[in-house]
Symmetry: C2
Subunit: 442 residues, 2 copies
Amino acid sequence: MASSTTDQPALKVAMLGCGVVGSSVATMLVENADDLAARVGARLDLIGIAVRRPERPRPDVPVDPALFTADADTLVRSADIVIEVVGGIDPARELILTAIEHGASVVTANKALLAEDGPTLYAAAADRDVDLYYEAAVAGAIPIVRPMRESLVGDDVQRVLGIVNGTTNFVLDKMDSTGAGFAETVEQAQALGYAEADPTADVEGFDAAAKAAILASLAFHTRVSSADVHREGITEVTAADVQAAREMDAVVKLLAICEVVRDEAGTPSGVSVRVHPAMVPRSHPLASVRDAYNAVFVEATAAGELMFYGKGAGGDPTSSAVLGDVVAVARHRLAGGHGPSESAYADLPVVDMGRAMTRYHISLAVADRPGVLAQVASAFAEHQVSIETVRQRVLGDGDDSRASLVIVTHLASDAALAATVQALSGLDTVDEVVSWMRVEGA
Amino acid sequence: MASSTTDQPALKVAMLGCGVVGSSVATMLVENADDLAARVGARLDLIGIAVRRPERPRPDVPVDPALFTADADTLVRSADIVIEVVGGIDPARELILTAIEHGASVVTANKALLAEDGPTLYAAAADRDVDLYYEAAVAGAIPIVRPMRESLVGDDVQRVLGIVNGTTNFVLDKMDSTGAGFAETVEQAQALGYAEADPTADVEGFDAAAKAAILASLAFHTRVSSADVHREGITEVTAADVQAAREMDAVVKLLAICEVVRDEAGTPSGVSVRVHPAMVPRSHPLASVRDAYNAVFVEATAAGELMFYGKGAGGDPTSSAVLGDVVAVARHRLAGGHGPSESAYADLPVVDMGRAMTRYHISLAVADRPGVLAQVASAFAEHQVSIETVRQRVLGDGDDSRASLVIVTHLASDAALAATVQALSGLDTVDEVVSWMRVEGA
């Protein structure tokens, strides 16, 4: 699919960073140059790649070694389009702001920066009438930023449930298929390259929280930053939790959840944005997302249920998203105009986790004698929590026999559910609250 | 999520048609007016709705009855944005061209018109520097047009497999779950409102073929019209075919397939665009698309495998897509610029069905005696078709006993596979070619 590119105009493209994603972007810019030129209507000339050590040999990156430079600041001042794939907060923020100030459009994959300080960047881009595009920042190759900020912009998004971190999905999927525990499975993931040597950002949910903040901002036309996101990782998920999920025909997933919270009249009064493990019924489309794949499930008033599925990380998938954005902003530079700016007019408050409406799966070890269930049920009733199902199993026999009680609740405020768990642990008939986990997607 | 709209600029919106989709679009324009104004940066003023009988009472559409008019031609000349949801080729084409000529941007859901004569419309829009958007034309609420023409435009799409017709997916899914035949299931679908009184456009694959043409045009930067699409419907799919699929752990789906065809050196030499029933392994993400849902599975070089899932039809889901486009084109009118124009530079030929590379599932009734399999295998070998699996089952016993042979092939040209089936039916040891069906997504 090539075409002649002679006599075409050209746009100057600068890149910041040349790690896994950057190498792939540079390779695609070179190898697909003719197709990209035909799609844009102008050649994309790579004018430089800013890296810490420009002299280091990079045989895998098919560009003139003279393009590598340590002087990122000078580079971004002369570009039409700056691709930022260096990651982290600083110096990425300053470089992006400098690029915008000098009139460049910016394509970034930097979720951490956008989730921490996006509005500063969006405002700078709007002031200078340039584009700031970031499809690659959420769920890698999966088109989700553009669908959220353009395709669904005439609808009202009610809820987003996302599997947006491949490492944790790989670990939880393997725990489900092998029955192994968390620590052992993370080691396996590390050996296979699915988890970093220090897996904290993934397993503690920091990566997913940044993506949740970006998704919520887009979905609800409201500013949400990483700090607003309630975050629980998967380090406490046990083989027993996964087994308990299996018994109710569910799987454990780390979900990024963004949803509208309504007052009693049904008017939106806030948004809940959170990352935590949850049991998801196997009949739900998200339950079938295996290995390190990502998926984002969206519920909107008119559209109904939508799901977007694909690879959430990796050099080539992320590059696909970056280059889609590069073509879009390049077309804008030729045809005039720019893509959508930040939309934050709704300005809804982010509510505390306690006000989120959730369901709990609670597993109790109790005495096997008359009246126990009544006492347990009373604890739920006192906190206005309604029970959906109870499953009781007797363990052992005789006077001292014990039982296991597994309870799934209806929707209630997370605060009421947490208080119920607290109250249950204080009952004399309850030996132990063996585990509890939220249930989503039912 | 409302905001004040006083003193905002306004854009004049005209609508053509007020059926199921039009009623929903009009209702959303009115009921969500404040949110839409905040997202666009201007009010969207509905200036008229062209319908055949303007005097007919429409109590479900919450607009001033004076807005209804029979004079579509005059209406489109004074609009900033024209929403075309009247369907069909004429007069939709003339009205869209008139609207564009008078400087309006157009949002349409008209797959039949785009698949028949899209390039005329795209060229007119490009000449006048206005937008022609059509997210709703393919797969209803599912964002797929925008991802194909914007998100994946930096990548190379290799294959698209789409379940893009809800009626046929409903019928095939019910045949799978009930074991019933085609005619009976279509009647059930009609009773439930999932199939029209005259289901021809759906069950014969015309609707899916129009969508395949649009998807292929976008995926391969090549003009593809409905007439180029090889089309087979589902009317010949029997309960036995569905049962045969079950036996190989597959389901039957009507697929819209768009794929690059390569020459022996691996260079793209054409595109295959086709609609036909196919067996899809249950492990493939498309197999779990139930009821009347739609899904589009995309394979791209860098992005890998992606899937987009949701509701493919209905008033509200289609309106969601229409209004997303309305907001996009309205933003362009305010900020300047426009969205992507037609990209057809690759200009690859659409190849005959015979050159498509497919796999066949073939079921034969044969004599149960030595040498039969050898004779059958020779017929495949003569046509250069390689066999993946053979399953033989003896039916009855004694001298006259018969056997069933189920064969699944490797990839071969459809012409070679069809010739093999022809040859098999002429073998004296073959009583009957009981059925054959293509296999996709393996």
